[in-house]
Symmetry: C2
Subunit: 310 residues, 2 copies
C-alpha cells in the first residue's frame, strides 16, 4: 500500500440533449489532477492546497473533493488525516463536470490508498456527496461518466442504477467552453418544475431513440433524437449566441448539438475527426461573433476511468 497517489479524472458532458439529467459521457480532456497523501493525524482532518480558482472553497467540508473524502472516511469509520492537492484543469462553472471530476478523483485516490475497500457503486455515493456541496444536488450524470468512463445512463437514483451505453467507435465529441459565466444554481432555478405530458412523452421517445442509435451506430437516428424539450428552451437564453453557435455546428456536419451540463459550455457530436475539428472551429467563430472568446476540446468519447499518474 502507498501513502500518496496522484490521479487524473477528466471532465464530462452531461444531459446530452435528450438525456437531460440522466445521461453523460466522459471527455478525454480537460481533467483535474488530485494528489492525495496520508498525513500523520489520526482523525478525519483534510488539508486542501493547490487550487487556483478563487471561487473554489478550501474548507474541506465545503470543497467537493474534501467533502467526498470525509464522506468516504466516515462511512468506512476510519480516522485518518489526508493532504489533498488539487490541480484544477477544468474551470469551475463551465458545465463540463468540474466539481464532479475533483470528487471522483478524490474518492478514486482514497480507495487506491486504502487498498480498494469500496467498489465503484459505493465510490459513486461518496463522490455524489462531494458534488452536492458544489451544485446543491446529488446528481450523478457527471460523476458517473468521470468514474466509469464512456457513456452512462443514470436510470434511477433510489436505488442508484447506472447503466453503461455502448458508443459507436467513430463518435467524436466537440466541447466549446466560452469565457462566460453561468452559475449552476441559477441554471437549475430557471428549469420548469413541470413539463407538459406531451413533451415528456416526446423526450422519452428521443432518449430511447438516441440509445438505440448508439447501439446500432445509426447516426441518423442519433441525430433525429437529439432534441431536448426540458432544459434547452429555457437555458439557451443564458448563453449568448446560442442559436447561432448551434446552427454553425449542424451546418458544418455535427449530428447534434446542445448545452453541456448547465452551460455555458456547448457540445456537439460528429462521426469523424475531420468534421469534429471543423465544427469546433466554426462554433468558436460563432461565439466570437457574439463577443465571446472560447476554448475547444475535441476528442473521441473517453472510455477510460480515472488514471493513476503516479
Amino acid at each position: 500500500m502507498v501513502d500518496s497517489i496522484r490521479i487524473k479524472a477528466t471532465g464530462s458532458v452531461s444531459n446530452v440533449a435528450c438525456g437531460f439529467d440522466c445521461l453523460g459521457y466522459s471527455m478525454e480532456k480537460p481533467g483535474d489532477e488530485i494528489t492525495l497523501t496520508k498525513n500523520k493525524l489520526d482523525e478525519i482532518n483534510i488539508t486542501i492546497s493547490g487550487i487556483q480558482a478563487e471561487k473554489i472553497p478550501i474548507n474541506p467540508v465545503k470543497n467537493t473533493a474534501g467533502k467526498a473524502i470525509i464522506s468516504m472516511l466516515s462511512y468506512l469509520e476510519l480516522s485518518h488525516g489526508f493532504d489533498l492537492h488539487i490541480k484544477k484543469g477544468i474551470p469551475p462553472g463551465s458545465g463540463i463536470g468540474s466539481s464532479a471530476s475533483s470528487a471522483v478523483g478524490a474518492v478514486f485516490a482514497l480507495n487506491k490508498i486504502l487498498g480498494n475497500p469500496l467498489n465503484e457503486e459505493e465510490l459513486m455515493i461518496h463522490a455524489m456527496e462531494g458534488e452536492f456541496v458544489a451544485s446543491g444536488s446529488r446528481h450523478a450524470d457527471n460523476v458517473g461518466p468521470s468514474l466509469y468512463g464512456g457513456m452512462v445512463l443514470i436510470r434511477n437514483y433510489k436505488p442508484l442504477d447506472i447503466i453503461h451505453i455502448p458508443v459507436p467507435e467513430c463518435l467524436w465529441n466537440i466541447t466549446i467552453l466560452p469565457y462566460y459565466e453561468v452559475n449552476t444554481k441559477d441554471a437549475r432555478k430557471i428549469l420548469p418544475k413541470y413539463v407538459s405530458l406531451s413533451s415528456a412523452v416526446q423526450q422519452t421517445g428521443n432518449l430511447a431513440g438516441f440509445i438505440l442509435g448508439c447501439i446500432n451506430s445509426d447516426f441518423n437516428l442519433i441525430s433525429r433524437s437529439m432534441e431536448d424539450l426540458f432544459a434547452e428552451p429555457l437555458r439557451k437564453k443564458l448563453i449568448p449566441g446560442y442559436e447561432i453557435v448551434k446552427n454553425s455546428a449542424i451546418e458544418n456536419g455535427a449530428i447534434g448539438c446542445g448545452i453541456s451540463g448547465s452551460g455555458p459550455s456547448m457540445f456537439a457530436l460528429s462521426t469523424n475527426q475531420q468534421t469534429a475539428e471543423l465544427v469546433a472551429k466554426k462554433m468558436q467563430f460563432s461565439f466570437k461573433k457574439s463577443g465571446l472568446e472560447s476554448k475547444s476540446y475535441v476528442s473521441k468519447i473517453n472510455k477510460n476511468k480515472p488514471q493513476i499518474l503516479d
Copy 2:
C-alpha cells in the same frame, strides 16, 4: 390482382408501462378478420357488415376501418366502392388495440387489392386516420405494432418516426381482459396535462433502460425499468382490483405488469411459457376476487404483420 381478400390483424399492448404513448407490441391473438371486396361502384362508397359489437358504428365515416379505407382511397385519388366485412375478435374498449387492428387490417387489405401502391409508413398514416375516429387522437402505438409486428417505438409524430425494437426470443406476454368497461376517451381525460420534471426525467431513464434490457436480454433491467409515472398512478383507479392483480403477477414470477393501452386490460411479461401461464391464472383469480370475470391471452410477442387468410 384480386377483387377480394381476407386479412387477420391482431391486437396489441400499448404503453408498456414506461413506454407511455410511444411503445407497443403485437399480440398473437386475439385478432380482427377483415374481408374487403371491390364492388361495382365507381365512387368512394363503402358498405360495412359483419360487426356484432353494438358500440361500433357501421357508418363508414365513423367506423375506424371504413374511415381508414376512405382516407387511403382519397389519397390515391381512386373512385372505387368496397364492401367491408368486419369480424371483430377484439372487443372494443378493451385496451388491446381493437380499433387499431380493424384499421390496420383494412388498409393492409386495400393495399393488397390495389397491388401494393403504398409502403408501410404510408399505410400507417391512413390507419391512424381510422384510429382517430374511434379514439379522438391519431395515436400510433397500437397501429404500429399491429401493422409492423413485433415491438415498435413511436419516437416522433411530426414526422412519423417508427423504430423497431428487438425483443428477447423468450419473452412472453400475458394479457388479461376483465369484463369491465373503461371508455378510452375517459381514460385520456384523467391524464395529467403536466407532469413534474423529476418524474419526466425518471420516465425517460426507465424507457431507455427498458429498451437496453430488451436489446441485451437483461430481464432484471427490463423489470427495474417497468414503472410508469405518467398514466398508471391515475388510471389504475379506473380498474377494480388493479393493485391486487398487479401484485399477483409480480409475486408469481412476472418481470413486470401494467395497464394495457388505456385499460381495462392489464398485461404482464415473463421469461417463459410456464410462468406466463401461471401468472395469467393468478391474475384472473385476483380479478375474480374483485368481482370481475376475465379472459386471458398468453403468447410470445407476435413478430408477424397482418396475415392474408385467403
